[in-house]
Structure formats: C-alpha cells, structure tokens
C-alpha cells in the first residue's frame, strides 16, 4: 500500500538519531495513539544546518519523519515554516488515505522544535504557534456507519 519512496525512507531513514546540544527539540504525538515524533534542530544564522529525528510509529510515520528532515535541512526558518504535511506527503509520492493522519506529525514536530528554539533564545518567529497538547485531539473518529 505504500509507495516505493515511503518504503525507501522507512527502510533507510535519513537523519535518524539525536543532536547532542540541539538548538531546539520538539516532541509531538502520543504513545496512546501509536505515534510519537521527536525532532532535533541545529540553527545557525536563521538556517537549519542540521536536523535529526526519532520516531515511534507506523511505516508512514517513520517515512514522513525522514522525508521532513530532508526537506528542512539547509532551509531558512522562514522557508522551513512553509513545509506542510501535504508537501511532505507529496514528496513521498502520496500516502494511503488511512495513513494521512500520520503525516501530521512531521509538520507539528518541526514547529515544536522551532518553538523550543525560539523559547530558548527568546525569539519571536512570525506565524509560529505553540505546539498542541495532543495532535490527534482535533481529529474526528473515523465514522463507521
């Protein structure tokens, strides 16, 4: 059900790991729902010079994490903020409909890491909102008629 790209990023995740003294760290998701993503970013002169992730989750969660870090790396904060779930999913040649919710993590984790960076450095980043408590809360239950 997954695209070749998804499978590739799942089997060979890019930027998996930790950054010891990261500029920002964001953890989103919820073990209850089966997916947690943590993103570490290194920021230098407004540019995300390094990024790493750890993910507990399904194949789609892992692949979107990996793809998101690829898209983010080397970007300015402003550019990075333009990366959406949709663009991550598209870069992966799409996700099965039931798995789209997993791609929400990537955007949220990036924002959470940036928020952490901003908090630590007392910065205001235009357009950035504080991380949600629970990323799945706003999702309606799959209607089962």
């Amino acid at each position: 059900m997954y695209s070749q790209k998804v499978m590739d990023h799942f089997m060979n995740p890019r930027n998996m790991g930790e950054i010891e003294q990261a500029s920002g760290v964001g953890t989103v998701g919820n073990a209850k729902c089966g997916d947690i993503m943590r993103m570490y970013i290194q920021v230098e002169n407004d540019i995300i010079t390094d990024v790493k992730f750890k993910t507990f989750g399904c194949g789609a969660a892992v692949a979107t994490s990996s793809m998101a870090t690829e898209l983010v790396k080397g970007k300015t904060i402003e550019e990075a903020l333009k990366i959406t779930n949709k663009s991550v999913a598209e870069a992966l040649d799409g996700l099965p409909p039931v798995k789209v919710h997993c791609s929400l993590l990537a955007e949220e984790a990036l924002h959470a890491a940036l928020w952490d960076y901003a908090q630590k450095h007392n910065l205001h980043i235009e357009g950035l909102e504080p991380p949600k408590e629970d990323i799945h809360e706003h999702e309606a239950e799959n209607p089962k008629e």
């Binding site: 997954y2 499978m7 930790e18 997916d35 947690i36 993503m37 943590r38 993910t55 507990f56 039931v98």
Partner: protein, 392 residues
C-alpha cells in the same frame, strides 16, 4: 529471499486436495441443487454429504448445520437471529470484551436497537471468569455469546463451564469458533453449545464459506430472506463448490489434527522460548497453556507494530499485528487493551500464527531476523531514548 507465511489466523491457503474437490462443481456439476432434474441430484448429494461431514466434525447431526458466506455472517445470524426470536423473553445479551468485531459490532448494533449487552472483562491471560458470568446473568438474559478461541492472543475460553451455566439457566449459548474448528477438538453436545460459527478459510478451506451449527430445538429467525434453501433458514443459491471445499477441509483437518498440532506446538514453543531469550522488554500475550496450538503473540516495548511488520515483510516474513481486520484503524487492538496492556505497549504487538507447513528452519530465520529489526526500531524510538535516559 525466503517467503515465510506466519499469518495463518488471518487466512490459510486453500489446500490442493480441497481445490481438487471443488473443481468439478464449477464447470461440470454446476447445476442448481434446488432443481428438479436428475443431474442436480449429484449437487444435492454433494451438499448433503458436505453437511454431514461438517456435522461429524462437531459432534452434531446433519440437520443442525447451515451453510453461510463465512464466519462473519454466521456470527451476525446467530446473534441477531436469537435476539429477534427471543425478544419477548428478554433483551439482555452477555458477551466478552475480546470478541471478534463480527460479534462486537453486531452486539453494538443491537444496543442501538434497545438491547442491553454485558461485555465481560477478561483476566491478564484473556480468559473470562465464570464467577463474573454467573453474576452477569439476569432474568431477561437470552443469549451468551463467548468466542471459543481468540484470534489475536489465541486464548481458549472455559467453554464447557460456560455451556454448563448457560444450560442451568436455560440461556442460549453461542460460540464463535472460527479460530478453533479444525484446530482443537470440539464436541457441541458434550460442551452444551447451542450455536457455533465456523469459517472455511481459517482451516485450509476456501474463503466465502462458513457454517452455523444450530442445535435442534433452538428457535432462530432467518437473517437472509429469500428462497427456500437451507431448509428455509438461509436463502440464496447454495455455493456448491465452496460447500464441498469446506467439508473436505474440515475432514482433512480432523484427520490430521493430532499429528499436525504435535508439530505446531513444538515449533511454537521453540519460537516463544527463542524470542524470550533474544529480546528484552517484551511480554507474551495470551494464556500460557490454554492457547491455540499455532498462536504466538508478543508485545515489544518502545516500538510500534506496523513498522515491525513492514520490517519483517522486507525480510520475507509475513505476520500480523493484532487482527487483520483492525489494520488501518487508529486504535490499538481492543483485545490487548482488555488484557490490561497500556496503549503504547498494545501498539507494539506482533502476532505470529503457525501452520503445519512451517519448519524449524523458518523459526530459526525468524529468531535471527526479528531481534535485529526490533533493535533497529528501538534505536529509532524516542520512547526507548527516554527509557535509556531514565535508566542511566
């Protein structure tokens, strides 16, 4: 690459003997068994023989077996058919928290129609308590429906004890035995079972066929209305090839059960022991002894089941995480939650279900591969990172 199928609880291949038995009924003996003419007699006879083969396997009589389109339909029919037939007597149904969705969702549907359903809890091994069952019985209880063996964790329920209590209280007892028939010995009379569901594709028979055993004397309303097939109880042109195939599969599985289980249990125990030795932070789910011969179910902490499955898949190993039906849903398996696992541990579960064609070599390959995949996923997991940090 090896291809190792370890998901026999999801479905089994149709045995070649079964396919061979079915084939003539597609192209040569294709007639409608309800027809008057002589050629249809061969079909009618084939269906009658199949019925008595299925009856024999359960300790029932031929006129107590009704063919359905599968286990799901049999469950729906049993529960809705009894609910409707006995609604004057009462509207209370007792089931368990770990039933297959075919039973659970049917019960939930009846709740919306004004029935009251008690979902008995299970212990950490997945068994209901007979004491709980006794206490749940009300004046207006019309049906107890408790599965024979669980599809995820393999736990076998105390069916005989449940049957005894149902009989004492004059309550109909249905059991979803889709995972049990052909795998463990069953005798509906000795066990006081009033209705029993089974399905072809779980015992090396074809998909799209199943049966409901209905004890003589049990009143039940039809579920599918139409022609007079199945003695006016289940309408629809008989699926002759599949009926013949189901019977053949059941016959073979009864004949080979002892030998086959001997082998499967040995493999299963070897695998369980091997996994327990190789991988820390795991939990064996299900009952230590009262479990299906082929069932292995583990939870691996800090990792999520689907990625584990895909990792195994990439190595040619086909297993499952909870029921095949629940994949694609957000919630972890209701069965694993019911035995008390926290959500995040329930998410990290793996079900391996063995069949007679599996080999020790295959188990060794799994024991070689699985620990590496688990380790890789743990290295990727923020939960594991936190755990290690907390340890140090």
């Amino acid at each position: 690459m090896n291809k190792i199928y370890l998901d026999h609880a999801a479905t089994t291949p149709t045995r070649s003997e079964v396919v061979d038995a079915m084939l003539p009924y597609f192209t040569q003996q294709f007639g409608n068994p309800s027809s008057v003419y002589e050629v249809a007699r061969i079909n009618r006879k084939a269906v009658d023989e199949a019925r008595s083969m299925v009856a024999n396997a359960l300790g029932a009589t031929s006129d107590e077996i009704f063919f359905t389109s599968g286990g799901t339909e049999a469950d729906n029919w049993a529960i809705k058919g009894i609910a409707e037939a006995y609604e004057q007597k009462g509207k209370h149904i007792i089931t368990s928290a770990i039933e297959h969705h075919a039973v659970l969702h049917t019960c939930q549907y009846l709740e919306k129609k004004g029935y009251q359903v008690t979902y008995l809890p299970v212990d950490e091994y997945g068994q209901i308590s007979i004491q709980d069952l006794k206490e749940a019985i009300q004046e207006d209880t019309i049906l107890i429906t408790i599965m024979y063996a669980n599809n995820e964790i393999g736990t076998i329920q105390p069916i005989e004890a449940i049957g005894k209590i149902a009989k004492e209280h004059n309550i109909i007892f249905h059991t979803d035995a889709v995972q049990a028939v052909g795998h463990v010995p069953i005798h509906v009379k000795e066990m006081n079972i009033d209705l029993l569901s089974l399905s072809g594709h779980k015992l090396y028979g074809p998909k799209g066929i199943g049966a409901l055993y209905i004890r003589k004397g049990v009143r039940i309303k039809p579920f599918i209305h139409g022609g007079a097939q199945e003695r006016n109880r289940r309408a629809g042109t008989e699926n002759v090839p599949a009926i013949v195939g189901l019977a053949k599969a059941i016959e073979l599985s009864m004949k080979e059960m002892e030998e086959s289980n001997h082998k499967i249990i040995e493999l299963r125990d070897y695998l369980i022991k091997g996994i327990q030795e190789a991988i820390p932070h795991i939990r064996l789910n299900g009952h230590p002894t009262e479990r299906l011969p082929g069932n292995v179910n583990f939870s691996f902490r800090f990792i999520e089941g689907e990625s584990l499955l895909i990792g195994l898949d990439m190595h040619g190993i086909y297993a499952s995480s909870g029921s095949a039906c629940t994949s694609g849903s957000l919630d972890p398996s209701h069965v694993l939650l019911a035995i008390g696992l926290p959500h995040e541990i329930a998410h990290g579960s793996l079900r391996i279900t063995l069949g007679p064609e599996n080999t020790k070599e295959e188990m060794n390959y799994v024991l070689e591969t699985l620990p590496k995949i688990v380790q890789r996923l743990r290295d990727m997991s923020p939960l594991y990172e936190d755990f290690l940090r907390a340890q140090s």
